[in-house]
Amino acid sequence: MKGYASLVKPYILWMSLFIVVPMLLIVLYAFTTSGNELISFRFTLDNFFRFFDPVFIKVLLKSLEVALITTLLCIIIGYPIAYIIANASEKSQTLLILLITLPMWINMLVRTYAWISILSDGGLLNSLLGFIGLPQMKLMYTDFAVMLGMVYNFLPFMIISIYTVLAKLDKALIHASHDLGANPLQTFLRVVLPLSLPGVISGITLVFLPAVSTFVIPKFLGGGQYMLIGNLIENQFITVGEWNFGSAISLIMAFIIMASMMMTRKMDRDASENTGSEGGKLW
């Protein structure tokens, strides 16, 4: 084994070059003023203070809200789907999981474009509405469109992570519950649901984190006015050219993500302790 350990070295070098160095650069940018020379830096905390402006705070809160609603919708929609798949025959399970994961193989940008052609004013949905004689609806560039894109994109992660736990659930426990007089609903509430919580929690991590920082979906489905924290950062770098401020927001974002990760980790630990299982750990 020892001999192979050195094989990992090029990988570490690669990683540090292309991941760690850019990260360090972000930290450097965040704590310095603009117009730096290569050698002399002027350190400052102004970039961070600048963020605490009602305009930006509102963007942050909006991002958290959208991510939260997305996550909730994913749980509400994803749980029943995961439940149905987990209770299907083994053959159908494989097929259904394949179907669920299929869109994930296609680039997110492409998938989002597909929604544009469905939702836009002359798009598929409105044509259909017109066809059956219903009034046209404004769908693009609304909260609805953004939320739809988010849920569509992140739902598979929720389904898979809940499904993984439900599929592993010992059927004998369900029989035991029936045996002790619990009807199907009572069995679900008292046995299945509590035991599947680890899957829900890891699903939350998988959905909330990318949802809170995404910028592609709000940009395309929400339009130029639709500003979430991911778009704010993107703008600072690409449109405005304020790399220092953009870096500072990125760090604030990273901090929020880390904090929420730690929170879900703790929830996960509590849930696993209660169920005595390793349930739901996808990594």
Partner: protein, 347 residues
């Protein structure tokens, strides 16, 4: 005793394989019935049909003379101790045991009282708050029994409940289970593939093989009067030989005719014969009808297991006397020690 459960011609198949081939069985109140048979013979399947977790393809199940085939499991007055206990891992000992009572929305104080009583019965006082995942196999097993019994079912189903325990603990639990059954006075339907366990605990043993009942009877019946070669072979070590029933009370095997106590067979019918190892005595050469040479003698704790070779076969004999290897000896047994059985498939 009142008849409580009746299986009528139960047939069950999975995919294309026939697992139960027409089971007919009655079980009475307060009876300790054991389903005994090799792994895969359909014991669990029969139990699951009674519990209501799967349904039969053909036949009827009656409980107290009422057909229950369409009653869902949560409405049956039956509780089960599952093969691997199936305790709820997210609940502690107390909540596991109280589960059924909570479902029935019993009064809080009543629940506490009953749980306490159960913990005492299974000897687990003070374990209320332990997570079940941290209990040993024997303790989990007792929680499973308490969780089932606390509902005061009329029938308790136990599917190889001691299978996962080591020998010593298993022996202790056998005694304890029997004691519990007598104390609470309900019907136990017990599944095992361990013939010794079946013989020590049961009122009635149902020997099964290949989805069919081979014999139903008391432990002594099953042991002393096995109905066929399978039962004789499965229940303890035996000398099983082939012979011919010449006429009533006369059987021929190993080219000799012996007197026996069985009758009512066709004359000259080919039969199977069983002679239990402990029913055969080793005697001086000139005193036995059968003569052979002692090949081996292994001490088994209480008795020696002796192998005597004759021109026809090797006999297994259990004796407490010391024997001499390679010595020529005679074998002796009484007419009532010879058990005649129909050959399988001819009755």
């Amino acid at each position: 005793m009142r008849k409580l459960i009746e299986f009528k011609n139960i047939v069950k198949s999975f995919d294309d394989s026939l697992v139960l081939k027409g089971i007919n069985l009655s079980i009475h109140e307060n009876e300790f019935v054991t389903l005994l048979g090799p792994s895969g013979c359909g014991k669990t399947t029969l139990l699951r049909i009674l519990g209501g977790f799967i349904s039969q393809n053909e036949g009827h199940v009656y409980f107290d003379d009422i057909e229950i085939s369409n009653v869902p499991p949560y409405k049956r007055e039956i509780n089960t101790v599952f093969q691997r206990y199936a305790l709820f891992p997210h609940m502690n000992v107390h909540d596991n045991i109280a589960f059924g009572l909570h479902i029935k929305k019993q009064d809080k104080q009543m629940i506490e009282q009953k749980v306490k009583k159960m913990l005492k019965l299974v000897n687990l006082q003070g374990y209320e708050d332990r997570p079940v995942t941290l209990l040993s196999g024997g303790q989990q097993q007792r929680v499973a029994i308490a969780r089932a019994l606390v509902n005061e079912p009329m029938v308790l189903l136990l599917d190889e409940p001691l299978g996962a325990l080591d020998l010593k603990l298993r022996k202790e639990m056998q005694v304890e289970l029997k004691k519990i059954q007598q104390e609470v006075g309900i019907t136990f339907i017990y599944v095992t593939h361990d013939q010794e366990e079946a013989l020590t605990m049961s009122d009635t043993i149902v020997v099964m093989n290949n989805g069919e009942i081979q014999q139903i009877g008391s432990p002594t019946d099953i042991y002393n009067e096995p109905e066929n070669r399978f039962v004789a072979d499965f229940i303890g070590e035996s000398n099983i030989l082939e012979g011919v029933m010449l006429e009533d009370y006369k059987v021929k095997f190993d080219d000799q005719t012996f007197e026996c106590v069985d009758y009512g067979f066709e004359d000259n019918l080919e039969v199977d014969i069983v002679l239990r190892p402990e029913d055969i005595d080793i005697v001086p050469l000139d005193m036995g009808r059968i003569k052979g040479v002692i090949k081996s003698a292994i001490f088994k704790g209480v008795h020696f297991e002796v192998v005597v070779e004759t021109p026809y076969r090797e006999w297994i004999i259990h004796t407490t006397d010391k024997v001499e290897l390679d010595k020529e000896v005679g074998l002796h047994f009484f007419p009532e020690d010879i058990h005649i059985m129909y050959k399988m498939g001819t009755y």
